[in-house]
Each structure stands twice: as structure tokens, then as C-alpha cells.
Homo-oligomer: 177 residues x 2
Amino acid sequence: MESRRPTASPTPSAPVGASLRIGDVARLVGTTPRTIRYYEEIGLLAEAPARPSGQHRIYTHSEVERLREVMRLRDLLGVSLEELKTLLAAEEARAEVREQLRREDVDPRRRRELLAEALGHVERQLELVRHRADELAKLEDELSETRKRVRRKIREADASAAGEFPPALERTGEPQQ
Amino acid sequence: MESRRPTASPTPSAPVGASLRIGDVARLVGTTPRTIRYYEEIGLLAEAPARPSGQHRIYTHSEVERLREVMRLRDLLGVSLEELKTLLAAEEARAEVREQLRREDVDPRRRRELLAEALGHVERQLELVRHRADELAKLEDELSETRKRVRRKIREADASAAGEFPPALERTGEPQQ
DNA sequence: AGCTAAATTGACGTGAACGTAAGGATCACA
DNA sequence: TGTGATCCTTACGTTCACGTCAATTTAGCT
């Protein structure tokens, strides 16, 4: 009914768990193949490397994670995909830095440059996130306040009602979790 | 250059500060007349009452506040204007409740109903806001962590550089705010 | 080799949230 | 009473972020 796939290990020597196709990835992260292709199209996701155009795209788990992060930021930051792309330059820079760190043969000045650049990106992103987080926190407080007031009024209404006639079917004093 | 408007008080008996036109409102809240008309069109904003269609829209400061709130929620909640409309039913309900409170001749059971309804709306909104606030807080923490790590690496890089040759033009130990 | 599910590119379609242009009416002031 | 700025409605245009359809190919099984 729904089989016919490299069930577990096609060749046990392959990098464990590789061989995800676009449909699998879409299901994993909760989106559609079209969206993934679109993100690749506009440069939000790197195109699968060394794929003889026309062949199926193959994804690794780290690419799935990247996509997850992209979607998370998309949902939380409320910026356009274009802005998001520039924001994500941070991650790319940091990835490059990590790359450079592994091979230790890098010019220290160049390395510092990369690090400083990465720091700038992270800070811009942080600023944006902080601002939104603050605003949301304010809103949350206001709503809590409102809720408190409404609840109090309900209690008052119930109390005065109980004074006029004894509590019948309407139970007084709700769950109060 | 930019005069020709009821500068301060057309008739000192009028409700203070009324007589805002759509362009004024737009400037005040930082949007365009088109957007305001659009919001009225889709029912996000009530249409100016008793306006002989074809006449200019007139706004009061409370309507400006309402618009501010709408835009704030639009920016913060990340929901469609349609969803936002239903969310704002809360405010309308609460407004109705306040209305009913002023005239005290309301059936207490009806009043309780209204209050309960308002509470429900506020709680749904609060839930939504809390969830987003939490997610954003997580993201903020992660970014702070990242920044810390990057900064440490920069310090390390600077230190090792200082060890190899004495600090020249590059100043060590940045502002550190 | 053959079958079928899923993938490929290309193109056009769509809903949301406005922008923009046209032609005319209104408003505050002189 | 005129005049220029602003506003009115109507309607078509636009951008973003995908959806959908079609005609082919590819991949995994048997």
C-alpha cells in the first residue's frame, strides 16, 4: 500500500540515514514539496549539491534541521523571506567559521574578521528578537490584567446573584485551576 | 504650505479634538489611507457611523487608538486579518459589557453570559500570545548563548594574536558594554 | 523488463494585503 | 465664489508565498 522505499539500509556503509527525498522531508517538517523547492528557488535553501538537474533531490538530516530552523524563524520573526535570507547569512557565516576552525591553516586575521562578521549578524538578529519578545511580553501582561478584571466581575455578578436567590442549578465557584 | 485645516477649535463646544480625517489618522499611526479604508471594507474597523456615503470619514481619537491596537496585534500575532477579526470580537464583547454596565437595567444572567464570553475570548488570545512569547523567549536565549560563544572565540583569537606579536594598530579588549 | 509511486521542470493560478490610477465630489479658507 | 488640497468610489494592478496542473522522468520493487 505504501512501501517500496529503501526501508532501512540500502548499503550499510552509507552515511546513516541519508537518502531522504523531498516528500519525506516535507512530511518530517510539516510542509509541502512545493514549498521546499520554492525556498531553494529563492535561495533560502542551498540547492542540493552535485545533483544532475533532473534527478531527484536528496537530503540529509542536517538539511532537514536547517529547514526546520528556517520555518521556525519565518513563523516567529514576521519578516519576509527576503529579509529572512539576509538574516540567515549569519548562520552561513558561522558555518564557514566552523569550517575554517576545523582546518587550522587559516590566517588569524581572516578568522577574526569572520568571527566579527558573525557576531554582527547574531547581534542584529538578537536585537530584532528581543524587541519582538518585549512587545509580546507587554501584550501578555496586559491580557493577564484584563483577564483578572473580567474574572473579578464574574465573581461579583455571581455573588450578587447568590444574594438575591439561593444557588440553584448554576454551580458557584468554578474549577479555579 | 500645509495649512488650511481646523487648526485648533472650530467650535469650542465640539468634543475636544474630534475632526480627524483619514489622512491625519494615517499619519498619526504610520500607515496609508488606503489601508484604513481596506480595514473598514473587510470589517476590521467599523465604518464611521452616520456618514452620508460620499462624504469624508471623520475619526475620533478613540478610533485612532483602536487602529493602533489593530496594527499592533497584526504585527505581533502573525495571524491573518480574518483571524484577527475574530480575535477582536473579544474587545467588542467587552465593549458591549461595559456598555451594559453603564445602564444598570440589564438582566444579570445575560450580563454573566456576556462576561463569560468575553473571558473566553481573552483566554484564547492570551493562550496564543503566551505560546508565541515563549517561543520567542527560547529563541532569544539561544541567540544570547550563540553570541556568548562567538565573543569568547573572538577573545581567544585576540589573545593568541597578542601572544605572537605585540598589539599594534588593532586594539585589544573592546568596549565590553 | 515492467509497473507504479513519487519526483522533475515549467507554467499558470490564487488569496491576502494592500498600491495605484481615474474621475469626480468635498472641505476649509481666502 | 473660487481654489487647491484632500477625500470619495470604482476598479484594475502588484507582490509575496506558495498551490495546482501537465507532461515527463526517475527510482524502487518484482
